[in-house]
Amino acid sequence: MIQSSSSPLPAEVNGSPLGTIQVISAKPLDIVDLLSQAHHPGAGAVVLFSGEVRDSNKGREVTCLEYESYVPLAVKIIHDILAEAREKWGLKVAIAQHRIGRLSIGESAVVVITTAAHRREAYEANQHIIHRIKHEVPIWKCEYFSDGGHQWGNNCNC
């Protein structure tokens, strides 16, 4: 089997053909579409996490959020996190997508979907993936408050 050794990505990511799912998205996340890609006949358990913009943080009223990212590195790290989780927990599907740009209250900032034969693995892997995405991926949040202030990098939204 001949494979290009220079290709940095596997032929399949997220359990879908390469490129189907963009892990960093400037458009609103389409949770329904992502879920529709997460079904697998061998999976008895599907766990979806959505991190959504809250209307307040530590007592200050939030009007909107902005996320920015160093995209090339973020994409690579998220793919690595998903591949490692797929391997470690024997997942059938592992999908993640993080929004960038300006978000209103209630919009989804990040979605993680994991499916496995049994539910323990799906829950554990899902929590592991979102933890790593929040702490390791070059994505930064700026909160805009109703009092006119803003603040970068308060890593506690969800």
Partner: protein, 79 residues
């Protein structure tokens, strides 16, 4: 020695998002010093940053070259 510098998030309170630096900086430790000469207020945040070129992080002993584009990465706050 000219490098391109890209900064993100809180670092933009101290530097332009993208700028050219004309200074001697053979590694990221020296680059950090050059950046503090531009704005010493960035010390705290710079101390918690990592550095990257293209799709990989670089160590403090990575040798920087003319025309490198160096990305300065504050602590993540996604999710």
């Amino acid at each position: 020695m000219i490098m391109k510098i890209h900064v993100y998030a809180k670092l933009k309170d101290f530097f332009s998002p993208e700028f050219e630096l004309n200074a001697v900086a053979r590694n990221t430790d020296e680059l950090k010093l050059r950046l503090l000469e531009i704005n010493e207020g960035a010390k705290n945040i710079l101390d918690s940053c990592r550095f990257a070129i293209e799709e990989g992080f670089i160590d403090h002993d990575h040798k920087l070259k003319e025309n490198d584009t160096v990305i300065i990465i504050p602590p993540s706050s996604g999710g």
